[in-house]
Symmetry: C2
Subunit: 514 residues, 2 copies
């Protein structure tokens, strides 16, 4: 086996956190903006997010939701109505207090004291309260239900420790908000949207996830139930990739969302909310990235195929460009994974090898390099990003199909890559979930080495609440662990609670988490 | 001619401003949010904006721009660097001063004095300064140019008098930002994007526009040249529907956007910016709306065809729904105006006549009503929204093609409606531009009646600058007029300046404006 010279300077094994930053920088996805806690999402990173938006938006519309847009600013009084909700967010809210600047007399500007708002405005951290107001206006009768809305927006939560994509003060997301006639329908919808997220994560992003209910201490502020999908990153930590909340009547009572039922009685609605954010881009990086940079699943790759003619930047390039253009046109006219193939013929100036490694680091699924000799032989040199290296030679594993064969096989290759990335991630996750641990000392030993994250542990518990739960949370906190969720569809409990020794009622996943 | 009973209570002739609000409410497009100056964009209004986004985004990408995302918050110091720019926006900026709330001891919340920001943050009114920072990092060499970026985002300008879609404190827009090697290339790009806007407005929205350069006093704060597209509303007033700015080296110097040219010299870039916003939705309403509500051009209609079975809300409805479903499927499988037809089979509960008028007010281009008798005869009852009334009977002008004929002809009907709405607007505009006015007294007489807006007047002027221009602006202000722009491609000047009597150098459009 030859030595492989990887395209990144940091490897995952060396330092996973540094590797993560290296992938983002090398793939030109995002960077710090200079504004505290806010990042700039660069074209390649934003292109991936746009693809994710398109696919998730289609799924949200297919389940009967309409997009709408609500104000960025929320009056303080509005926010105060739901006690648990404001308690959960008050510590991290950006507050607008003035609406004008004036000269400070020293060449700078200050907020104009004469333009102080009577009531401060909060920059939305989430929109339950402002959308609740609208729902209260829009819902009058049972005929208006269910009301199913979605919003694509930016939100702000003033985070003290930020990390690109995973935790930023401003982030982009979609937030769905629905109002229903009763508890049963609202709970069913909460789970329907959880299933939409599961399918989106697994089928579109290639992220295997565990769907399940969050424990009481991890609920969204103001929610009755919070459900999540949890993905395992390559360092074994968990990433909460999406949440769906059943809000009961809490927000309906706070905002006055009532309807007249068929018998003429005024009744409070039951509402839900659910969201997925740019954080998911971080999940894609930490699931599919390798020591050569990002690998983008074809369904969300802005360019699925990049064709790189080895140009000399002079007039003799024309036949080579034409040779490549024919492959581009052949591919662009075909479908894969339900959409037309997105193929780029990259003729920008620059050295061919440099450009190849740039696209490797960006994670374009298929890279097709074409030199003069390839053209003379009627072939192309093709690299699959998910199988980049020839282990025996330590060199890139180029295949050299004829140009016609490449045009015919690349659509299936893209579908294969989509499936292969998912399978690889699923196998890794399954081999890193440890089940059947019955002794808390085993858990302690398992997670003792703080430099290693051996994965997740499934244990059984008696579902304590209140103070008893607080004690469990404290014990886990000492190990830097959290309860991720109660996986749906898993085996029923059949043993003792690992915390209390009482008969267990369900199984839970313990993990370190982002 | 029979009396027509229109679907709105307010007519355009009665009170144009009230009619505008009536259309928005009746078509269920938007409403006041309760947050000062901010509106809620409801699903039908947002659906139209989403269609506009999709079409404009395609045009922006086709001209080589990448989408990216930059922070919502701009540090004050960053904003201060370009003097004219900050001067232009300081009076209307929302300022974030705190990042946490605490209890006020009286059951409410206040900004936490301990969490005051060291440097206040401005909520972006536009992003030249923050994107300029990024450009300064990204541009190093001539090889990095041109740099062509676009952002879809919300922005905030604290407007004192707001009006839905036309002027709101928060609005949605796209803002393009590009950096170029020299003046010639940047100016060319400024006009290229103006042309993109013209084509988008005319071909996609059916809004005829006059493209031209703004006078000095109407320039974007910090720009060297500002160009606009101006549309005429049905009340004869002008709406600035999009602007494109050549920024010279102003922002490049403020942010330090420099590159090393081929000779190795550090050189400042020349930048451009250009934007189109949700204001354009207001333009669509005031151009295409009529006394029955909105008429949406098919290219931007969320639903182009709405099929309304006249249901009885019982089991006997099944054959009728199936009859309609076949037409829906036939249409959904066809293309018009370059895209698959968007057709809705509306089976929601409600009275058929009520639902018909709801769709008329929303402006769905084609409404197909189907009752039991239609089904028995193998026909459908079809309404074109752009030709709603039979003038002789005063009743809706239903056509009754066979279901098969409807399936075959509706694609062409939609293309016809798209063209017809544009032609109608163009003819109206042309008949309301008065040319050849050479005496200012004529202008005064023309606009004297403040309750009527007779349209636009084209005059010639000597293009005064500085104080002389200020005087012209004052004279026009007394008539509530502004100079809209210097139309491109018009006749050269051949007379005297209407303001100074000096030889004129160009023609300008005078109008009242939104």
């Amino acid at each position: 086996m030859a030595q492989i010279r990887h395209a990144l300077t940091t490897t995952r094994d060396d330092d996973f956190a540094a590797w993560y930053q290296d992938v983002i920088a090398s793939a030109d996805m995002a960077e710090e903006s200079g504004v505290r806690g806010c990042m700039v999402i660069k074209p390649w990173g934003y292109g991936i997010w746009e693809r994710m938006q398109r696919l998730l938006d289609d799924r949200i519309k297919a389940t009967g939701h309409d997009n709408a847009y609500f104000p960025l600013f929320i009056p303080l009084s509005n926010f105060e109505r739901e006690a648990a909700h404001v308690e959960g967010f008050a510590k991290e809210m950006a507050v607008v207090t003035h609406h004008r600047l004036i000269a400070d007399g020293k060449g700078g500007l200050i907020p104009d004291p004469e333009a102080k708002l009577e009531e401060p405005l909060v920059v939305r951290p989430t929109s339950e309260t402002i959308i609740g107001d609208a729902m209260a206006r829009w819902v009058q009768s049972w005929r208006d239900l269910p009301l199913k809305l979605n919003q694509w927006a930016n939100v702000v939560r003033w985070e003290m420790r930020t990390r690109m994509f995973l935790r930023t003060s401003e982030f982009l997301w979609q937030e769905g908000h629905t109002a229903h006639a009763d508890e049963a329908e609202a709970k069913e919808h909460t789970l329907r949207m959880l299933e939409v997220y599961r399918a989106f994560a697994e089928e579109d992003l290639g992220l295997p996830v565990v769907a399940g209910e969050k424990p009481e201490n991890e609920r969204f502020p103001g929610a009755v139930e919070t459900w999540s999908i949890e993905a395992m990153m390559q360092d074994g930590k968990a990433l909460q990739a999406g949440t769906s909340h059943y809000l009961g009547e809490n927000f309906a009572r706070a905002s006055g969302i009532q309807y007249q039922d068929k018998e003429g009685t005024q009744t409070y609605c039951h509402t839900t909310s659910w969201g997925v954010s740019t954080r998911m881009v971080g999940g894609v990086i930490m699931t599919h990235g390798d020591d050569d940079g990002l690998r983008v699943p074809p369904k969300i790759a802005p360019w699925q195929v990049v064709i790189l003619p080895m140009l000399r930047d002079n007039d003799s390039d024309a036949p080579l460009i034409e040779y490549c253009e024919q492959l581009r046109a052949t591919l662009a006219g075909q479908m894969t994974l339900g959409e037309p193939i997105r193929v780029l013929l990259d003729t920008r100036p620059g050295k061919a090898a440099q450009k190849r490694w740039d696209w490797v680091r960006k994670g374009a699924p298929v890279i097709v390099e074409v030199g003069g000799r390839d053209m003379d032989n009627g072939v192309v040199s093709l690299l699959r990003r998910d199988a980049l290296w020839d282990a025996s030679s330590g060199k890139p594993a180029f295949e050299t199909p004829t140009r016609e064969a490449a045009g015919e096989t690349i659509p299936a290759t893209l579908a294969n890559i989509q499936a292969a990335l998912y399978t690889e991630a699923l196998e890794r996750r399954e081999s890193n979930i440890t089940r059947g641990v019955t002794d808390f000392a085993e858990v302690e030993a398992f997670f003792a080495d703080s430099n290693r994250y051996p994965g997740w542990v499934e244990v059984q518990w008696s579902k304590p609440t209140g103070d008893a739960l607080d004690k469990v949370v404290e014990r886990l906190k000492a190990l830097k662990l959290t309860i991720r969720n109660v996986p749906m569809g898993g085996d029923p409990a059949d043993g003792a609670c690992i915390f209390t020794g009482e008969p267990a009622v369900e199984r839970i996943l313990l993990a370190k988490a982002y």
